[in-house]
């Protein structure tokens, strides 16, 4: 049962307005869209976003561990990583941002600002190369971020049953999996609703310990 802990009418840390005429800032949450390279992340963002997906960039610096660098000199390696995102204004008080994660996991794994505080995720998988989405599933599982799986069927080449796909992805039975076409707004909406329902289920289960 859900305990109505901290029934927050105005959740979040808003600075108190100094001007009554200023527009009130909406609260924001984010949902991550992940999956292998070219699997349709930006397409899904766009199918449900109220604006054409925007693109932003970030510099990520990693200290490369010179595996094949015999000199032993630590190198710092700065990469520019781009991500596309969209927005759904749920109400004047609440906005959902959808972030398509950069195509190569090694980049977004180290982008803490991107993954911290995410409400949940959607992993898109393509049945022709399911393995390209393994890393995303692993990532959400390891970070404890709830997610749903979208099997993108827009190539109409899916000959596998949902059970086969689920087994191939080694999905937890509780993780929702939907088949559809990520270009379709209705499918995008259903995925988001499935994620929210999944989160509600998790929230209504009393935490263990």
């Amino acid at each position: 049962m859900a305990t109505p802990h901290a029934a927050t009418g105005a959740p979040g840390a808003a600075t108190s307005p100094t001007s009554p005429t200023a527009p009130a800032a909406p609260a924001a949450v984010k949902i991550l869209i992940a999956g292998g390279f070219g699997v349709g992340k930006t397409t899904l963002v766009g199918s449900v976003s109220e604006v054409t997906p925007l693109r932003t960039e970030e510099y990520l610096t990693r200290a490369s561990v010179g595996v094949d660098d015999l000199s032993g000199v630590d190198q710092k390696d700065t990469t520019t990583v781009a991500l596309d995102f969209g927005r759904i204004t749920v109400s004047p008080e609440l906005v959902v941002y959808l972030f398509g994660t950069p195509g190569q996991e090694r980049f977004w794994f180290m982008w803490n600002d991107l993954v911290n505080g995410a409400l949940g995720g959607i992993v898109i998988a393509d049945t022709r190369r399911l393995e390209s989405s393994f890393a995303s599933i692993d990532f959400f599982e390891s970070r404890g971020i709830p997610f749903v799986v979208a099997i993108n069927c827009f190539h109409n080449t899916n000959t596998r049953t949902p059970d086969e796909i689920r087994a191939a992805l080694d999905l937890d039975p509780q993780v929702p999996m939907l088949l559809g076409d990520v270009r379709e707004r209705v499918f995008g909406r259903d995925l988001l609703l499935a994620l929210v329902d999944h989160l509600m289920e998790l929230a209504s289960v009393a935490p263990v310990g």
Binding site: T21, A22, P53, R55, P207
Partner: protein
């Protein structure tokens, strides 16, 4: 240059804000009134999703080292700005600061600061401001931090979704669900 181009939308110019304001016209390439969405609806341009996705090579590059804009600073004055921290211009203070012009010495407003203040008259997330300025998130955060520190911008932190305390607030989820159903 990273492996990700900045041109998933095909033209890299039009769609940056959300089609409702024209701040970005300082770049001088776009039609004031028509967003790319508008033109797409009229069938004049392909839908962005039909364009090459994700792996277009960035050929434009930047002629200015990005931290030039921040006068060499590489870290913001505050570290609590996230991608979805929502910023709103504090109108009176911002108007006064803008009226003072940029003669106020090192604390004066740069063009990017002014663009931000104009943009955030309607609340916008850090990611949106970054996309609109065409500057990396880390650079944008430094500029935003300046304005927050001067009281010209208000920052609203994202909602907490901490799961340790027994999951996400059900009231929040219900509100999100209601909004999504209208999609």
């Amino acid at each position: 240059m990273g492996p990700y181009g900045n041109d998933a939308r095909g033209d890299g110019r039009d769609s940056t804000w959300d089609g409702r304001d024209d701040v970005r016209d300082t770049r001088g390439t776009r039609d004031d009134r028509d967003t790319r969405d508008d033109r797409w609806r009229r069938g004049e341009v392909p839908h962005w999703s039909e364009l090459e996705e994700e792996d277009a090579e960035d050929e434009s590059g930047s002629m200015v080292r990005p931290y030039t804009i921040t006068r060499g600073r590489t870290a913001p004055e505050r570290d609590d700005l996230t991608l979805i921290t929502v910023l709103t211009t504090v109108e009176e203070e911002a108007a006064a600061a803008l009226a003072r012009g940029s003669r106020a010495g090192v604390r004066g407003l740069q063009p990017e600061h002014r663009m931000i203040l104009e943009r955030c008259r309607r609340p916008a997330a850090v990611a949106e401001v970054s996309a609109g300025l065409d500057l990396p998130v880390s650079v944008t955060k430094i500029l935003l931090g300046d304005l927050v520190a001067q009281g010209l911008l208000r920052a609203r932190a994202p909602l907490s979704v901490a799961r340790a305390a027994g999951g996400v607030d059900l009231g929040l989820l219900t509100a999100v669900r209601e909004g999504l159903r209208r999609l």
